[in-house]
């Protein structure tokens, strides 16, 4: 995608090459970031493309291009200079952002709680609500002696790896249907030095094939999942960053948004130890629905403990216990 954009990117960079910056600056010299923004009319272009938080977007890209930590880049770019190579990158990335490529894909990495993860095209980008979810889960297990954790659909690995990073007594196994995500999660685990406590299997959970053959008799103390939960009717609200750049298998929860969650309930019945916990991140109206489902269908097997709100005060998380 980026390569295509580079090729199709034209007028501004040509324009830039012809302009002589400063009165007698030789070709190939540095130019101030502020000037590059002005000449490329990037503020206007980003706005026309419907990108919000433009200052923040530009600062992320500046920090990436200059290879400086985001928190060390000043809010005013007056003193920052780009060399010709950096300028070309800068424009390529801004162009990509105008095409609504997610910032996290442009930068190639993003933070999640206290860790930084690599991102990869088509792999689900961890959301801020999931940090709040993991804070609750980690808090609930911080005093446990040992935790065998299973994650269903680990994507980039954000949830499992942040838990492993904060709690040394956790050992994690993950399953993931997407090959790209499976590879990325393993890469992230390696980068964070957590590979000795993390394994990921490329497997699609299905009825009666919940776990891969190698794990079919395994039991866990904790199962976590952020299963696809977007309802079919909500697909009209998806942002371009999501529709165009993320795999719909990571989002599509069927008509009521609980299609995959229901499979996780059944998996939990088989693979949780008694007293073990199932924590799920779900959509807005889901916790009361889950409570009803537990009472009607899983009595004597799973017990609804509580629903919790995310940081935006939307009740979206549930805790369930294996009886």
């Amino acid at each position: 995608m980026l390569r295509q954009l580079t090729r199709s990117m034209g007028p501004t960079s040509r324009l830039l090459k012809q302009v002589n910056y400063g009165t007698n600056a030789p070709a190939g010299t540095h130019i101030p970031v502020t000037k590059a923004l002005e000449i490329g009319q990037w503020e206007e272009k980003l706005k026309a493309a419907g990108v919000e938080d433009r200052k923040f977007n530009v600062k992320c890209i500046v920090s990436h291009v200059l290879k400086q930590k985001f928190s060390s880049v000043p809010d005013s770019f007056d003193q920052l200079q780009l060399n010709p190579g950096q300028l070309a990158d800068f424009e390529r990335f801004l162009e990509a952002r105008c095409a609504r490529m997610p910032l996290q894909h442009i930068i190639g990495e993003w933070d999640f709680m206290d860790i930084t993860l690599k991102t990869s095209p088509s792999v689900f980008i961890p959301r801020p609500e999931t940090e709040e979810f993991m804070r609750l889960v980690i808090d609930d297990h911080k005093n446990a002696k040992h935790v065998d954790l299973l994650e269903v659909g680990c994507g980039s690995g954000a949830m499992s790896l942040s838990m492993l990073h904060s709690l040394p007594q956790v050992v994690a196994t993950a399953i993931e249907r997407s090959k790209a995500a499976t590879v990325l999660a393993a890469e992230n685990a390696k980068m964070l030095g957590l590979l000795n406590r993390f394994e990921v299997h490329n497997h699609t959970m299905e009825e009666d094939k919940y776990l891969p053959e190698a794990l079919k008799d395994k039991k866990y103390d904790l199962i976590i999942s952020n299963p696809p939960y977007v309802k079919t009717e909500e697909f009209q609200f998806l942002h371009p960053e999501v529709v165009v750049y993320e795999n719909l298998n990571a989002l599509d929860g069927g008509s009521d948004g609980l299609r995959v969650a229901r499979l996780v309930f059944d998996l939990a019945c088989r693979h949780l130890r008694p007293g073990g916990k199932l924590w799920l991140e779900l959509g807005n109206d889901h916790p009361p629905m889950v409570k009803t489902i537990m009472n009607l269908k899983y009595e004597g097997r799973l017990k609804f403990i509580a629903g919790y709100s995310d940081q935006y005060q939307r009740e979206r998380f549930v805790q369930i216990e294996k009886v």
Partner: protein
């Protein structure tokens, strides 16, 4: 959930406190219920459906109307913690004036630099008197030789 964090934030780690010999006895505690927090999510379903990266956090301390804004980090979650630290520092200055940690640190810095200057001056003086002595001694010696 951040409440736990805030309690922890109210006082810096003991190690820091001991080393710095600052007086934290007046340092305020932040009540999460006194804070009005604003950070953006926008309308719509949220969660998986959107990919928003807004990082900016605003806090207002209701009893004093002190406000802070923080967008230092890429993540809103980090800025929420950082903003609380900033608010505590401001609150401390507001409530404790010259006894606030910021004022104490400033006073300590000043003491240190005065002390440093004094020592430097003393050294300079010693050097000067030594040089003077040398010169007179040398002078005497050369006179001796003559």
């Amino acid at each position: 959930m951040l409440r736990g964090l805030v309690r922890f934030l109210a006082l810096p780690p003991t190690a820091v406190r001991c080393k710095s010999n600052l007086d934290y006895s007046r340092f305020p505690v932040l009540q999460e219920s006194d804070i009005e927090e604003t950070f953006m999510r926008g309308s719509g379903p949220g969660g998986q459906a959107v990919n928003k990266t807004s990082n900016c956090v605003f806090l207002r301390h209701l009893p004093t109307n002190i406000t802070v804004k923080c967008h230092t980090h890429r993540l809103a979650s980090k800025n929420r913690v950082e903003a609380r630290k900033l608010l505590l520092e401001k609150l401390d200055v507001h409530l404790n004036g010259e006894h606030s940690i910021a004022a104490q640190v400033k006073a300590q810095e000043q003491r240190k630099s005065t002390e440093r200057r004094r020592r430097q001056e003393k050294l300079q003086e010693m050097k000067k008197s030594w040089q003077d002595r040398e010169r007179t001694d040398g002078g005497t010696k050369s006179t001796d030789k003559e």
